[in-house]
Amino acid sequence: MRYYQTKDNDPSGVDSFAGDTLGAHETNSFLVELENAVVAAGLTPDTYEGLSEDETQLAKAMAVYGGGAAEWKIDSGTTGTAYVVTSVSPIIPAEAYYEGMFVAFKPLITNTGACTVNVDGLGIVPITTLAGVALTAGNISAYAAMVYSDTNSRFELVMGVMTALTTAQPATISLLGSPTIPDITIVNQGITTALIDDDAVTAAKLASSSVVSASIVNYQVTEDKLGTNSVSHAKMADNSVGESEIIYGAVSVSKLAANSVSTGKIQDGAVEYAKLSNSGTQTINVRDRVAKAWVRIYSAGTPSIVGADMNISSVGNGGTGKMTVYIDVNMPNGDYAVVGSGQQNASDSGSSAGGVSCAANSSSSFNVETWDDGNSHGNFYHSSFLIFANT
């Protein structure tokens, strides 16, 4: 082959035409190039001519080259340190080593250490790992595949098969020229989450108890990763779920089994009034059994003194033995029960005949009157009142 478009014919040579007109020899040169490509691929040029000629033979030759015919070599070396490999006849080898040149061959002898190769007589160069480290004994025996690095003037082993593949024993593969790895060992965090497809690891692939708690990062297992009822009580160690891990409101009533919350599981003060039943069924209504307001008043002095109370806003004094008690949060209506008691004098021992009366005024107040043992209004040493009402 030559640069036909830039070189004039030589009239003194085999072609007598001057200028840039191709002669028969040059025209034949084209065909020889094509014929060599076909023959070197192991094909015999078609004997037919004209319309019956096989005009796909160049394409077939290219298929042979593309299928690896030029990359596969035959070893004829006699030691485990110097391989001599050549192309399979009639493949025409490359003219020189080039960057990325791929060569594969079956070694006749397992390498015994650092080694070299001479491919198609192009020159002796080292075979190393991709990192440029010399091979060690046994790196290649059944098969070797390597790539030429023009920069480093060496072949770098990309795969060396130690044992031929049989039905009884799978091939042992040396990755990147490293020593034999009988089993692939995955180092900690060697396979990151991003490398695992969603749902790729099914529960059946996990041995029982294979994932220990320490291997699960805090908050790594989100709620949407847990199937309904997938975490049973038996899967939780005692005290494993700390109170701080339970979001307020996360445990709904429907998540609690009947009788699952015993008294000991309820914190002091945790049960508020609003949690008591106000059912229309009287036997289970708790709120109606709870006093809605109460107060203890000492009236002997002026002004009177409120000793203690619950849900009382103020106390009015309208005269001797006459008081009005005002409720802070009103009752639903004026139809509620007021219960009162009193002690006329601090020294009374229960023999006094005084009395206390009380009656609801409205949803917000009730009147109190106290009578001494002379049946006259009198200010009592103390008196107490409480209210029960429907909710």
Partner: protein
């Protein structure tokens, strides 16, 4: 010194009201404990007589009390 509400009862006597829930304002107390439209004053409880023997005769010297603190909004009943 603690304070109280005083006002003139419908019968002419004096009613005083002690605030029990200290988080309530006097206006809130009066809205319930002083009858609607009745003037009231907030005074120190020390202004009450210490002897309650004649409690039913107590009256308020309205002119000397000056302007009322406000007017009530509550209900009228027997004791007030």
């Amino acid at each position: 010194m603690a304070q109280i509400i005083i006002y003139v009862k419908a019968s002419g006597g004096m009613m005083y009201v002690q605030r029990v829930n200290q988080s309530l304002s006097w206006a809130q107390v009066a809205a319930k404990a002083v009858p609607s439209g009745i003037d009231y004053w907030v005074v120190d409880e020390s202004e009450l007589p210490t002897d309650s023997t004649f409690r039913d005769s107590w009256v308020i010297d309205v002119p000397s009390q000056g302007a009322p603190t406000g007017q009530g909004g509550g209900e009228q009943h027997d004791n007030n």
